[in-house]
Structure formats: structure tokens, C-alpha cells
Symmetry: D2
Subunit: 347 residues, 4 copies
């Protein structure tokens, strides 16, 4: 593929929009055409994203000036896409939606988890859930991709091979989340003196991302899926410890083999289980800035519980990195193009 | 009680020893007689604990110079007490051991959890487990007190009333722990660049404090008790989210009433469950520097899971604060003397 | 003094107001009568300050319901006092203003540093600058006290004895400031992802607190006083490194003697200069939660520069702690009452 | 240039060695041949640097097994190079030394700043000080490069154009440094509970990097150069605020023009001076992971002081990034190859 594709972003001033800008400005096959922002229209994008100083002279535009493009990313919050989805579909060949508006196939899940009737249930089936490890072939041929939620990604990736291989009765996902996951808008709870150093259970049950986990992992509803996210002192990153109870006997080597079979050739999955050293299990610091999801595990010999840990960068594999991975697939590019940077040590 | 008691500390240069020094130097009924440290003998204690500058001119002494005293605190690591326990018992009227050497009543638990035969099984029954909320009356009349482990405290306090009141099948304790909990000695894993900003599963199963939880909560062994601690970015504090599965129906108000009944008059337990605001559930920041254990909860309406959260300061209610609380009881003092400082906002 | 004094706070929901509440609720001579907050009137104060849960059932009131009292603290931002100062003066015997409205004696300083004409220049001389180490005797007899600014305190305390003793030509105060110093209101710059881990020069020159430094240290204007504050990763605390150039020879011992003479008996000043160990110079962590100002120094043998470091807790010695210290003096109480808590190690 | 060069690293297990590994493994013109580590010889490099998991199967070797190579990086501490420098020179065409052993041209500076006689003064003149912005042409033709110290880089880059253009009398460099700058070895002062959240003046005067600043900035000795570094809560990054006193009049635009002239075409220098927004001046967070040095400034209208701020990533522009930049120059490659990654927002 020689010619660059024209790519635009709606919602370029938020954190996932900014991360897309960072990735796309370095992507060898992308010509970044436009980025919209109502609040910052007319301003240089590096006024909002200081890491882009000296890299581009692009300015934010208002959404109504959005040009036609080959790929359009929607870096918008929940509910901001559905009303204008036809406009967006008209503008582009491939639409990659990072909001939650088209992630769920069953319209009733929107009633249940978002307390809102979905306005365009007719379109739900036309989107693919943009998690390449689960839906690669479909993404390759799709023009409409709904990028998964960040905590959903940190739970579904480690769990999917297990729910397929084992008779799982119950999972408890205890996630620890960095502050960038709550977006670029400040509020009382994100004020530094109130947010620094917290270990805060902010939504013990009923979190919306649970809907995605149920959809991808528990289609028959026979698993008790429990999810509790916590805000911790971290800007980027999600660590999930998943406590799993399995019916029947199993050994750690069965888990190893299950992961190897499922993920042995995945470019962005790393199984981490060291016997010694500091970094024996997945850690958000290690994957910061990368598109990698680290997965580790241990069997609790006393109770039989399987403990699985995962770590991702919420803005990368948890959002914009995964979105670009989907774009690469949809465009027939090497899947890792532009998102294969290494992580840092220390950081 | 008018006369001050003479109190000494063995192991004054560590973090729990330092916290004892801070508390005892301000305690109106205590005359701090001596603090030992092999490494710092002859040095002013404020060389190690800079917060005590200008407060005392006490110097560390070697353990062999330990004077007789009314109360002796042992702020020592696991295994450092048992060999010399007779010497210590000879020196004092009341012995308060903060190591794990005499916390477990069943000697076989030491084989299992500490991989070591206990050398003085004869003494185990002579110690009381120093958690006032569970064993207040026994502590009042005891001369030998074994202070609970920090993560054990954060789990047992919220769980005890529940295991008594409900038919609990399974608990999963997912704890998030500050760096001071691993003590004053540095190692590769505590080196700032490696420890800062981590969310690190360091002992997914088989942690030693589980022994205490089993002893206090699960004497009949009919509950599946699962414990996974994580290192997070925090110096002081432990947050535990406890996922509980109960046989039979229950409502949130049943949990309220259970806690009110058990802890309604406890000076250091606070039930926290707010409908709005930033601090709706327990948080380590809020209890930093205090002897308080905050407890909150929520019922997961989808799965029936009961989510319970607790927060303590690991050096206070998780160690030295609880130790002083025990001392107050054993001496017949007001239980809150010297440990009733308020927390901070913000911090 | 046996009877408690009735004390009220205007502006109880901010950080200095909250810190006052914490201190006054524990103060043995104070009966806390009322705390106002427009935004939270009618709400329990612990909804805003979660550290006060279980301590008091006081609710915020609107300012118009303020009762008469013996001592009134104004925990308000700049400009919020001057218009209503007569009302406040009517309500109380002793007025302690924590805003900057009456800190400067020369009305023209308000033009210059606050770009505003002072509306009540007639009152400026009736207030004493509430820094006990400099103006103790005046504070004892004063009914109107203007509490110094936080970075001004961290600069004036270490500098005052030196400007009196040496022929100082030039000082450069490079301060590092925690996030609580910018108050309880969130904005884009205090949003956790943007504020965490920064080293941010936010006002390289022309900071308003410079006015106080000039007033207290440089009445004749013969010293070049330079001040640059930086936001750093910290909630509470200010560290100031002060680079001083002196005309004429001097030795470190001259500095020692100057400080000993000036501050040898001060209850809240600690000279810190250790040859070894981790904590050789003042550090904000060590004074966190205390009313102490640590001061240390070193002579640069190569250039003759005198380097002086100070550390305070901006909400304590930098605001509410110092305010209570002033109240104690004005009431004839022991100066340290209610503000002599020890710091923490580690924290 | 089509063929890759063979590159080895001595000292691959430290932080600058690890950063070199990260950069060189991604460098399109480099074939990474070997990395030595006495402590970890025989171990996979990703056991030490977990960010390199899945990237390479290289194992550390002992220094005696070092193969011949085209470029050899020495990522060693001070004093570890000079004794074996002949061995290293024999092994390689281009030697890039990251220790301080050959940074200073005047052997007496080693007596003065390192309190040690230099053992190979004959070689000092054969090394070039590896700061491309100052010595680009010499680096291009040099086979021996001494990479500058991290805090020296943060001071010299912003100061050099100014000392050339203005009549500077005095500079005070107040630096704030992340914990990775003190290397991978833990000690009491880097233990997380003691290091977290500090603002620590650890070497108020006489820091060794001052020698480099004096050499590059003050050859005639007519400027009073003062340097005080502080440890702050940060893993990567150095922020320097430089207070400058100039003889004679100047305006901000003169400073602008000086920087534009000196650095207008530099690929890794960014002048940052915004009138509004959060990121108005240089910040370490913004350059984290990049080879960029940000420089900003303001004139203090009251005293005439020029305040200059710089920000670098100490492991990139402050060490390994700058080292690779030098290698690129010495090999005739595009100077930015392999080190032109963008920074992050937020991070």
C-alpha cells in the first residue's frame, strides 16, 4: 500500500483524541487531515496537547467543517455519536467509533446499563466490536468499528480464552484505574488534592463496561460476572486482578496452554509469569505508552481459585491504540503499524 | 490513674517502632523509658525518625541494656521474638508483641503459613489476639498481647460481624497496600523508580496474614477465604475491597443493622456509605494518621454479591495504633488515650 | 483560663477553613460555634471534610446567620473580606483574617501587587501581620490579625534573622509548592492527569506574596528580592530554597549563631543541618501536619552564596496553624495549645 | 547508509544502559550485538528491563566476552571507565562514554570536583563533549565522545546562547530531579517510603556536574555559577529554573532572538513561552520519553532578573538519547534517527 489514507478525528481535544493525534501523526500510512473541537476550534492542537509542539501546525476545526475522509475516528463520550451517526457515516469510508454508542449488539443492554433507550437499534448489528484478538476477521472486512471500553478490554482479553476452555462459574474483576481514564474534563473528584494518592472504590457494582464483558464473555448468562473498579494513584494504566472460580480440576499448566494456544501469536499480548525478580506479574508501568496487554496468573492452591492479572495502558490498548490497530486491519495494513513502540524502564 | 507507666520498645528504628515512639511520646500516661536498635544504638532517635526532632533527646540502646518496665512493645519482624520471649517476659509486666510470632493459636498454622515449626507452642495459648473489637474483655485482663497483622486487620474488622450474622460461602479480599507496610529496609522492589506508581500483585495467593483471617473468621473452615494484596502508590494506608457471596437472601439494610449492632459504639470504627460527594466509601487518605477503620458496603443487585470496603492506616490501626489501644485496655485506661487524633483533609 | 472561648469561621468549606475546623475541634480552650459556607449551607461539615466524620454534627450555615463570637476566623480568598470587614468586626472581639486583604500596611502595595485600589486603607494600620516570630508582642495585644500568605511564611521566617544580621544584597527564593496551596476549587490546571508529577513554574515573577516579603524583609528597598514558585507533586507542603548573596565575609557558624539567637527558644522553628542520614535538611514530608518551620543552610564555598532551605506545611504554619498560634497569643493562652502535634515518619 | 552497524553496551543493567537498549533495539541502522552486566550475566535482558519482554532474546554477557564492534557505549558510573579505557578503545571504532571520566578537559577539574587525580590525563583532549548543539561538527568527526551529565545538560543548553550574547554576571540553577537520575541501585534514601513526595535539597553546593557547566559556560571564570539540585516526586525528568543576572539592559525580545538564532533549527530544542493555558513553560512531563529539551523564559520586571526554565528527560536528552544523537552524528546518519518519538499527553 503506497498511498497514504486521509484520516480525521472528531473530538480531538480529549485524552483519547489526543492519543490518536500522537499515534496518527507518527503513522507512516496516514495523512492526518483534520481534528475537530468545539471548545478549541481555531487553536493550534498543541495548545491543548503540549507533547505535539513542533510536530504539526494543524488547528482544531468545528465539526461542521469536517472534510470527507477515508477513515474517521470518533473520540467522543457516550451518547454523543448516536444522534449524528448518519452524518459521520456519510463523511467517511471507515468509521471507528470510540464512544460506547455502538458497542453493544442488544439494544436492551442500553436500557439496562445506560438507562437509556437506544435511538438507532437498527445500526447496532452493522458495527463490529473492535477487539482484534476476538474479532480479527470481521474487523478486516468491516467499515464500522466500535472500539471497546478501557476496563472492558482489561477484563475481556484475559478472560476470553478461559471462558472458552474452562467451566467457569464465577469471576470477580477488581480493577485499579489511572486518572486519565475519566477524561480531560475536571471535576471535584479529579481535583489533585482530592485525587492524589487515593484508593477509591467509585462504582462498586453496576459499572457500564460490565455490559461489554457480559456480551463478549457470557452470552449464555451462566457465569456470575462481578466488576469493581478503583481509582488509584496513576495517570495512565489499568491493572485488573480477576478472581476466577472454576468447576472441575485444573492445573496451572492448563492455563498456560490455553493462553499459548489463544494468544501465542498475538502481537500485543504478553503472558507474564516470572518466578523471581521485581516484575513477576503484569504491571501498568511496564506497558505505559504501548499497545500491549500483559496477562499473568496463579492458582491458589488452598481454595482452587485462579487469579489472573492484566495490565494495559488505558489510552493505548484501552482506547486509541486499539482503535489504530483496528484501522490497520480494516485497511489491510500490517496490524502493528504505528503502534509498536516499546515501553519504558523505569517510568 | 495518676502515675505514669514505664514503657519500652524493642526495635525502635523500624516503621512500627517509630510510630510507637510518636504515639508514646505524646501519650499522657506514658513515660517512655527506652527504645532499642542494634543498628543505631547510641544515636539520637530523631536521626532515624526526623519527625521527632526537638521532641526528645532519647538515644537508642542495645537490646541487652533494656531496663525493666511496666509495658514492653516488641516492634520486630516475624521470627525475631520467639527465641528470646522468656527474656522479654522477665523484663515487663505487660508484653505487647507486634511480630507474628504469637498471633496464631494453632501451632500447625505456623508450619503451614510460615513454613516453620513453632519453637514455643506452649506459649501460644497465653497470648490474646490484640484486636479490641473482637477480644476486648480478654485484652483487659491479659499480660500478653499479640498485635494483628496490618492486612489481617483490614480484612477481619469488616468481615467479623458479617460471618457471625450471615451464611457466607466465599470471600475474596483484594487489598491495596502502601509502601510503608513492607518495612524500613530497602530492597530492589522498594527502590523508588521501581515502586513509584505501581499496581503490583506481589503475592496473589498464600500470603501469611491469611492465617490470621482464617483463625478469626473461619474456625470451622466452611468459608472459602481468598486474599490477594497489591502494592499501590501510597506510603501509608491499606484499602481492602472484599467481595462476599452469601447463601440466602439479604438486603443492604440487614448489613447496616449488623454493623450498627456490632460496631455502633466502637470508638475506632466508622461506617461510611454516602449517596453523593467525593468520599462515598472508605479511603486510606481520610484515615491517614488515625486509628480509625472505615467500613462501607454495597449490594451488587445483579449478582447478589456483597461488596465491602475498608480503609486503615497500616502503621496505626494496622500496627502501632492498635498496639497502644491494647495497652490502654490492659492498663485500664480510656481506650482512646493518645490515639484519638483526627485525620487530615486534604492530604 | 477556664472558660472556653466561642469561635466561628467564615469560609469553612475551603482547605484553610477545613484545617481550622480540624484544629479548633481538638483545641481544649475552644468552643466551635459556627462555620459558614454559601455552597454547603445546611450540610454537615463532614460531607465536605471527610476527616471530621464522627467528630461533630455541626452544619454549615449561611454567612448572614453568623452569631456573635469571641474570635472570628475569615478563611476567605483575596478580595472577599474588605467589603464586609465592618460587619465582621461587629461580630467579634478578635478578628483573624486569613485573606490577603489586610496584610500590607502600604495601600499602594495593593495597587502594585494586586492591581487594585484598596477600599479601606484606613484600616490597614489597625491590623498586625500575624507572624508570631516577628511580631509576637503586638499580636498579644491585638484584636485584628492578618495571617501571612503561605509562600511568604516559608520565605520570611528563614530570611528575617539574616537580613537583620548580614548585609544582604540579593535573595532568590525558589519555592516548591503542594497542590493544596491553590485551594479547594478545581480548574484545568489542577485536574489530576495535568497536575500529577509536574514541576511547573507557574508564576516566574511578580507573585503577590512577594509584597509581604518586601514589607517584612526589605523596608528600605536595598535588597533585590526575587521569588519564583513551582508546583510540584505534593498535596501539602512548601519547600523553599533561598539563594542569598551577602556583602562581606561570613562563616557558617555566624549563620548558626544568628539563627540560634533569633529562634533558639521558638516553639515552632527547627534548625536542621545534619552531616549524615537521609534527612539532612528541611523537608515538607517531615513537617506535614505540624506547625513547624524547619530551616537549614549551607555556604557555597566556591561562590560565597548562602543557601537556606525551609519547609512548612502550607495549611498549618502556612495558614491555619499560624492563625491558631496567633489566636492563642491574642487570648493569652499557651502559644502551642492545640497545634503541637508531632509529624509522621514515614508519610 | 545501508548496512547496519554493530553496537554493544557495557553496563546494560543500569537505567542508562536499559534506555540505550530500548533505543537501539528500535534503531533502524543498528544491530545490537551485546550488552554486558556482571550481576546479570547469562540472564535474559528483559529480566532486568521488563519493557523489553518479547522484543529480544539477548542475554547479558560478562564484560570479558565483549565482541569487537563499530560503536561501543559505556553506561557506567563515574570512575569505572578510566582504568579500562584502553581495552574499550581496542574493541570499537567509536567509543561513547556515558560516565563522567572523560567529560572534563582540564585534569585539575577532577581533583577539584571529584576529589581524585585523573589517571589518564593524556586522553582527556581526545574526547569531545557530546552535546550536539554546542559541538556538532566535532562530534561528526570524532571517535571518542563523552556524553554530558544529566543536570549539566539541563543547565548548559539553556545557558549557552545567553552567555554568548549577554554580559552575564551571575546564574543560579535550581534543579528538580527525578529518582531515576540516581541510578538503579537502591539505598536508604531511595527507599520508596523515604523518597516518595520529597522536595529534598541533597547537594546544596559543590555538585560534580557543576564542573561541566563551568567548562562549557564559563571558560574565563567571570560568571558566578551556582547550582543546587533537589530530589522531587518524579521518576523521569529534570526541571531547572535558572535565575540570571545580566549587566546592562535587555528585553524579552532580545532573549527570543538569541534563542531563535542559536536554536531555531535544532531538532531537539523547543522554545516554550505561552501566554495562556496550563503548559506555558517547559515541563518534564511533556518531554518524558523524548530527546527534547524545552526552554522558556521571563524577565522579572521588578529586579531585572532573567528567569529561564528548562525541562528534559534525564534518561533521554540527559543521557542515552543524547548518546544516540551523538552516535548518529558520528556515523553520518540523520541526527534524529531512532530518537524522534513524540511525548505523551497526559502522562
Amino acid at each position: 500500500m503506497n498511498e497514504k489514507v486521509n484520516v480525521s478525528i472528531v473530538g480531538g481535544s480529549g485524552y483519547t483524541g489526543g492519543e490518536l493525534l500522537r499515534l496518527l501523526l507518527q503513522h507512516p500510512q496516514v495523512n492526518l487531515t483534520a481534528a475537530t473541537s468545539r471548545a478549541y476550534a481555531g487553536k493550534l492542537i498543541h495548545k491543548v496537547h503540549p507533547n505535539l509542539r513542533g510536530v504539526t501546525n494543524l488547528k482544531f476545526i468545528t465539526p461542521d467543517k469536517l472534510p470527507d475522509c477515508d477513515v474517521l475516528f470518533l473520540a467522543l463520550p457516550h451518547g454523543a455519536v448516536v444522534d449524528k451517526v448518519d452524518t459521520y457515516l456519510d463523511k467517511t469510508d471507515v468509521l471507528i467509533d470510540m464512544s460506547s454508542d455502538f458497542r453493544l449488539r442488544n439494544p436492551q443492554d442500553y436500557d439496562r446499563y445506560y438507562a437509556q433507550k437506544h435511538k438507532r437499534p437498527d445500526l447496532l448489528e452493522t458495527f463490529v466490536y473492535g477487539m482484534p484478538e476476538l474479532h480479527r476477521e470481521k474487523i478486516r472486512t468491516s467499515k464500522r468499528i466500535a472500539v471497546p471500553g478501557c476496563t472492558a478490554t482489561g477484563a475481556i482479553l484475559p478472560l476470553k480464552p478461559l471462558v472458552d476452555a474452562f467451566n467457569i462459574r464465577q469471576v470477580i474483576i477488581d480493577a485499579k484505574v489511572g486518572s486519565s481514564a475519566s477524561g480531560a474534563k475536571s471535576n471535584g473528584a479529579t481535583h489533585h488534592p482530592e485525587r492524589q494518592g487515593v484508593v477509591r472504590s467509585f462504582k462498586p457494582s453496576g459499572h457500564r463496561h460490565l455490559a461489554e464483558m457480559e456480551q463478549e464473555l457470557n452470552p449464555e448468562g451462566n457465569i456470575s460476572v462481578n466488576f469493581s473498579p478503583h481509582a488509584v494513584e496513576l495517570v495512565r494504566g489499568i491493572q485488573s486482578t480477576i478472581h476466577i472460580f472454576i468447576d472441575g480440576e485444573y492445573e496451572e499448566k492448563d492455563v498456560w496452554q490455553t493462553y499459548l494456544k489463544a494468544y501465542g501469536r498475538e502481537p500485543f499480548i504478553r503472558i507474564v509469569k516470572e518466578k523471581s525478580g521485581i516484575y513477576r506479574y503484569p504491571e501498568p508501568k511496564v506497558v505505559m505508552g504501548t499497545n500491549v496487554c500483559e496477562i499473568g496468573f496463579e492458582k491458589d492452591q488452598a481454595t482452587g481459585r485462579l487469579i489472573v492479572m492484566s495490565a494495559i495502558d488505558n489510552l493505548m490498548k484501552g482506547a486509541s491504540g486499539q482503535a489504530v490497530q483496528c484501522m490497520n486491519l480494516a485497511l489491510g495494513l500490517d496490524e502493528t503499524t504505528g503502534i509498536n513502540q516499546l515501553g519504558f524502564h523505569p517510568v
